[in-house]
């Protein structure tokens, strides 16, 4: 269904940036909504079997989304996204940081820059993520792999990597 859509993922270790580009077979306003409305974000952002739950969201500059990634065992990993720049249906930037359940951020976090463009009904999204530390990236991965223990293919990959250490 979507195999012909562009997906590009690059990591530049020197500049600590991850760049992700993906095309979607949908009009720009739908894709924009899916990235910016909490009730829609929660439907796709957590790789199964994880789920995402948003406690509150205020999509405006200076506003926040406070949310948790929830593992199948019910373990919650809270994080805060603060919106730093919004150009409707074109671009938005945010600062993402882990947090505790009481909304205290753990700094440093990462800077996210999303750009949207549409051509012939296909919408391209470009995401640039800047991480202050690569160790932080590792924590993100740890969280997901713990949550994905049910998913055998991922577990196999993880074990293969660990066994070589």
């Amino acid at each position: 269904m979507t195999n012909d859509l562009l997906f590009d993922f690059t990591v530049d270790k020197a500049t600590k940036t991850v760049t992700i580009t993906r095309e979607f077979d949908a009009e720009l306003h739908l894709v924009w909504d899916a990235f910016t409305k909490a009730e829609l974000i929660d439907q796709w952002i957590a790789p199964k079997p994880m789920t995402s739950k948003t406690k509150y969201q205020d999509f405006k500059v200076g506003g926040k989304r406070f949310y948790a990634m929830v593992s199948p065992e019910g373990q919650e990993r809270w994080a805060i996204q603060e919106y730093t720049s919004i150009t409707p249906r074109t671009n938005f930037k945010m600062y993402n940081a882990f947090a505790d359940a009481a909304e205290n951020p753990e700094l440093p976090g990462s800077e996210w820059d999303h750009s949207f463009s549409e051509q012939n009904g296909t919408t391209k999204v470009n995401i640039v993520i800047y991480n202050e530390s690569l160790e932080r990236l590792e924590r993100i991965l740890d969280g997901f792999t713990q949550g994905m223990k049910m998913s055998l293919s991922n577990l196999e990959n993880l074990l293969a990597t660990l066994s070589q250490k």
């Binding site: 269904m1 979507t2 997906f7 993922f9 990591v11 270790k13 020197a14 991850v18 992700i20 993906r22 979607f24 077979d25 949908a26 739908l30 894709v31 909504d33 899916a34 829609l40 439907q43 796709w44 952002i45 957590a46 790789p47 199964k48 530390s133 690569l134 160790e135 990236l137 590792e138 993100i140 991965l141 997901f144 792999t145 991922n154 990959n157 993880l158 293969a160 990597t161 070589q164 250490k165």
Partner: protein, 106 residues
């Protein structure tokens, strides 16, 4: 002490050392010549890289040569590939959400 591989690449000087010795084995003195820092500082970085098993030492006569463990570097790529998978899963889920949104509009 076993160190984490990501500690090795988290520092700009260590990344520069990795690039430097990727093509040829070098002595600590030769490595230090490339940096505006003390020998001690370069030795410290080399020690950390060794503990991370990212570089290996080889005695040649009176000199010790440092070279890169290519296999260990590949491990980093494998690790990063896991992120790619997370995003792939995410976006496949988003495709479904968008499909539902399109149907609801009609």
């Amino acid at each position: 002490m076993r160190r984490d591989i990501f500690q090795a690449i988290a520092d700009p000087t260590r990344r520069a050392i990795i690039i430097l010795i990727a093509s040829q084995a070098m002595t600590p003195n030769a490595i230090a010549d490339n940096f505006h820092t003390t020998r001690q500082s370069v030795s410290k970085h080399l020690r950390i890289l060794t503990e991370c098993e990212l570089v290996k030492q080889e005695q040649q006569g009176r000199e010790i040569y440092y070279s890169l463990e290519i296999e260990k570097m590949k491990e980093i790529d494998k690790w990063l590939n896991q992120f790619r998978k997370i995003w792939e899963t995410r976006f496949n889920q988003l495709d479904k959400v968008l499909l539902t949104m399109k149907k609801q509009k009609k």
